[in-house]
Symmetry: C2
Subunit: 205 residues, 2 copies
DNA sequence: GACTTTTGACTGACTGGTTAGTAAGTTAGG
DNA sequence: CCTAACTTACTAACCAGTCAGTCAAAAGTC
């Protein structure tokens, strides 16, 4: 999950995606309105409707935009050493989201809409399948090289599932914003890193 | 997380709580309206406002209602054998929520609102603290009896955190409703049970 | 025990504000 | 002068919440 770069893009679509992100971050999904997005965009609500016919179109486009960046980020892992490749991949999946707390909240809120929005569900399912595939590939490669044992696969898959949740497992995650506006963001999650999990597993087998 | 019993209660407040639950389950938090709740209640919207001044009052009352039942349920664990007591407690925290899929979704959606609703945040924080306290007490008791080693405490706390999430870690959890309306609900979660976790841990130490 | 009064639980009609979305006209750049 | 990117002004639907009045049953009162 990369930051949102190109701070001064002249592409209205990208500007709207950024505005949507800010509005979602500040209002939450339940209170997200076209008006709020338009305010962040600095234009009228009709300007939003000029680019996206319906609110749902906009939201689906936004989800695509975010997940595209997510996939790009984990695709950047380019190493041949299986062990290092897995560690880097899992860092992207588990550690990176913790550094983008607000974005993670936004994505989790949209994920929470999947029971009521089929388009969202499709996107998340495809994304989950892709991430799963990536992990399986990396692990299979490691197994064929004799670096991993095959029990790791199951374990890693479990860790992958956590990626979509990350710090959400920490109760303080949800309350952080209201309790103390923007505190020490650099504080690391207390959730076990993948290397910890791997140690436990190999000790057990 | 108990079922909602007393199917025919004449207490309007309880009826409204149940109606709110059904409305929340079917509409999701973002689309939850007084009108929807009133429809489930079978009365007018003004009838809702007669019992609860504002929508927020109603929602906070609903959250209290749900969390109260949750606490009651885990309080029912009454055994002196530390090991069995911990297992039963963790079953309530980890396994029971999986049996109440819809309720869990509803609670998770409300938890997702905590960054924007201080009253919700308060309730969840108190609840988390209570659950944490319960677990710590049970574990400390087990340690003083010499049944547990103290490393279990950290491990159990981690499992507790999962309690608030449960099956949410399964991607299919979110998509289940849309994909196949009400499929095999009895299918057990694939997430490791606490006993599995404990076996791994003791094998490692 | 008949009567009045009070109270709890509503209904139906309404209000003011907000929502997503539209339609017609404007403006600046290539 | 054409088109992309808007704006202003609008609409219909919907939202939470209000208000005046209904109605049955409980509580006093004589």
């Amino acid at each position: 999950m990369a930051d949102l770069p190109e701070r001064t893009s002249s592409d209205p679509n990208v500007e709207i995606m950024r505005a949507t992100y800010r509005a979602l971050r500040e209002s939450g999904y339940a209170d997200l309105t076209i008006k709020r997005i338009a305010e962040e965009y600095g234009k009228s609500t009709a300007a939003i409707h000029y680019h996206y016919d319906t609110k749902d179109d906009l939201l689906v486009a936004f989800l695509d935009y975010i997940l595209e960046r997510f996939v790009e980020t984990i695709h950047e892992v380019e190493t041949t050493d299986p062990e290092r490749r897995l560690d880097l991949l899992l860092d992207q999946l588990l550690v990176a989201p913790a550094d983008h707390h607000d974005l993670l909240i936004a994505v989790l809120e949209m994920r929470g809409q999947t029971p009521y929005n089929e388009a969202f569900a499709d996107r998340f399912q495809r994304n989950d399948e892709y991430v799963r595939y990536m992990l399986r590939t990396v692990i299979d490669h490691g197994i064929s090289e004799g670096v991993f044992t095959d029990v790791d696969a199951e374990h890693a898959t479990r860790a992958l599932i956590l990626s979509s949740m990350g710090d959400a497992l920490e109760p303080s995650f949800w309350t952080r914003r209201i309790r103390s506006p923007q505190p020490d963001r650099r504080q690391r999650s207390t959730f076990p890193s993948f290397s910890e999990l791997r140690q436990t597993r190999s000790a057990g087998s």
